[in-house]
């Protein structure tokens, strides 16, 4: 146990207020005995220093990791190692979370013990991609961490130009709207692509996210190269009596707030009866969200597969775009896997270094991309057909 916690008047300001404090968390860890406490204490020191200097004190990582893996560890060094020796190395370990982030306390406690033994006692529950983030250890700790992790049945997540740790909303485990088994699919895909996950061999990262319905509670359309979003093909299920109850509940104005907000105007309400023109329903979920007891997705369920979302680096941020409007999502998810593999083959060969698949499609052209991966062009893939007349006609066959 460190004798005295670092003196940190600046960041102590962040101990105040009703919201739980990350400074308190670091201090809790700094009070741990052994290296964990020492590291957390130096982390406090670095942070205080940053708060005074208004600048971070971390340096590029370099390549560190465990044997045979190309990813899963983010190397990190401090630029003031003399002053903060215990965090001179301060690598993070990305641990692949169980699908849906469900835990039993026994396993969570084991992770805590592991990180007290080898690390800093500081974690992120969870990282933005979904991993359990074990925040800060030295290079020599990595193999031991890995050994203990695998022993308790865990493995590393992704980093670098590989498949990144897939994640899923809680789906069928706890949501009535799940149109397919998000956690099941996520786990299956994760297991199937262990090699692609651990050994970076792509032009850049490739993320999967599984959302059970168009509410997209894992932000898949914005944050994954392959977004699998549950949906249905048949009519919305309706319990007319329950609709009436909502209408009378005073919770909202049926006409203005539900019918009036349907994006296609395909609903109507005569004061008594709600009618839905299901042919024009775009499965946006709004009416169902508003009346969970009265409406539900149809019974013919599956998912829309979209491709290509990413943050702005380099060409600008993208949302994913429709590849397969409707896919029945049943184990062993062969269609999905074949699609992913076809994409990787093409992008793997022709993608530029650090070119995400969404940018790749834009560079080589969607039609070209589709032809190469063997999908037919369909109008569902576009907001609208082209507006410019610059068509690359292929006329050889005709001639």
């Amino acid at each position: 146990m460190v004798e005295k916690l670092r003196d940190t008047p600046k960041i102590d300001e962040l101990m105040k207020g009703p919201w739980p404090s990350f400074v308190k968390e670091i201090k809790l860890s700094a009070k741990l005995s052994g290296r964990a406490g020492e590291r957390a204490n130096d982390l406090l020191g670095v942070l205080e220093r940053s708060y005074n200097d208004k600048i971070g004190h971390w340096k590029h990582g370099g390549i560190v990791g465990v044997m045979g893996y190309g990813g899963g560890v983010i190397g990190r060094y401090n630029d003031l190692p003399e002053e903060f020796p215990k965090v001179a190395h301060f690598h993070t370990v990305r641990v692949n979370q169980p699908s849906g982030w469900f835990y039993k306390t026994d396993v969570l406690r084991k992770i805590c013990d592991l990180w007290e033994k080898h690390g800093s006692g500081v974690t992120n529950m969870h990282g933005s991609t979904g991993d359990i983030i074990l925040l800060g250890c030295a290079t020599e700790d990595l193999e031991p961490v890995f050994a203990d992790l695998t022993e308790m049945g865990f493995d590393l997540g992704g980093s670098g130009s590989d498949v990144r740790t897939p994640s899923a909303c809680c789906g069928m485990a706890r949501c009535e709207w799940a149109c397919y088994d998000t956690m099941g699919a996520c786990h299956d895909i994760t297991q199937t692509f262990q090699d692609e996950l651990h050994r970076p061999a792509f032009p850049y990262k490739y993320k999967f996210k599984f959302a059970g319905c168009p509410n997209d509670c894992v932000a898949s359309v914005a944050r994954s190269d392959m977004s699998i979003i549950g949906t249905w093909r048949d009519d919305i299920q309706m319990d007319a009596a329950a609709v009436s109850e909502y209408a009378q509940s005073g919770k909202f104005d049926m006409q203005a707030d539900v019918v009036g907000r349907c994006p296609t105007g395909c609903m109507s309400w005569d004061g008594q009866k709600l009618a839905i023109d299901n042919r024009n329903c775009v499965k946006c979920m709004h009416c169902i969200n508003a009346m969970p007891k009265a409406l539900a997705p149809g019974r013919d369920r599956g998912a829309t597969v979209l491709l290509g979302s990413k943050a702005p680096i380099v060409g600008g941020a993208l949302l994913s775009s429709v590849m397969v409007p409707f896919l029945k999502m049943e184990p062993p998810y062969e269609d999905l896997k074949e699609l992913a593999e076809a994409i990787w083959d093409l992008w793997g060969e022709h993608g530029k270094n650090r070119e995400r698949v969404g940018e790749f499609i834009q560079r080589i052209g969607m039609s070209n991309f589709l032809e190469q991966i063997g999908l037919d062009p369909i109008p569902e893939m576009v907001i609208q057909p082209r507006t410019n007349p610059y068509i690359f006609f292929e006329t050889e066959e005709e001639e």
Partner: protein, 361 residues
Amino acid sequence: MAVDMKKRVTDIGPPHYDKFLPPVIKKNYGKWKYHEIVKPGVLMHVAESGDKLYSVRAATPRLASIESIRMFCDIADEFCDGHLRYTSRNNVEFLITDESKIDPCVARLKKEGYPVGGMGPSITNIVHTQGWVHCHSAATDASGVVKSLMDELFPYFEEMNLPAKLRIAFACCLNMCGAVHCSDIALLGVHRRIPEIQHDQIKAQCEIPSTVAACPTGAIRTATVDGKQSVEVIEEQCMFCANCYTVCPAMTLNDPEMDGLSIWVGGKVSNARHEPMFSKLAIPYIPNEPPRWPTAVKAVKNIVETYAKNARKFERVGEWIERIGWPQFFDLTGIEFTKYHIDDFTHAGESFKRSAQLRHK
């Protein structure tokens, strides 16, 4: 610590979630019927079988000591037969079947300093990133700004009186690990001066051709400095994205006075009503003001309050602004519209107003 390499296993993947699910979930997996928010932070799911599951949602600062995780485990053991989960936005959820345990669980969490809420039309946890705690790229801290903000927005977490869900995200640099590009309100760390080049280290640390190629605007070109092979940056062409720095550690952008935050609004992810949309620039720059970032906090609070007062039921921030128009958004919030708000990147022209449909007062 020696590791026995013979016993070493790889590629086992994560444990199957099945092991961690409470019995009520195993039994009713895929057979839930509906849900209700019983009160702020308490969700009830009812299965076709009639079984009920209560989820109590508590905030975490995401950055968690193993000591508090252990404490969560104690709580889960006491009230949930050891079952808990985390959400996609870093809240923790306690999974209760015995209705009588809800209130004690909530009380206990509050006592420990972990507020309960974040459901329905509220502000839930802020998705955020590493900041000065761990990342070399950060133009600002992450956890500190988030803490300062949520202290102020706290009532919106505990209550459900907004027009709709309001999602806030934070990223400390343009890499946007916090995926701020589609949030109702987003804070984004920004650099504002061109990379400082360590000419003596660049050859050793970086591949010069890939460094040159990394720049989206072509601002970097090879140069010979003091007889050494290096690069130079054409000042007018640099927009401070730091992509060169990601590729080449010898080109740093961090700067105590020039770095800071920008604020973005009106993005969303769900398909509900409006299709997903990107966040749009609201405030180009606010200086870093540790430890409590008062200017940024005030700016966000102003946007939240203006939204709360003016939006209609079910209207997310972006939908509200689309209805009233951007000029009115700037009017109502008092935020200044500047030349920086007008896009000038690749698809800039697509954002110009190409119609005479305008409000005139």
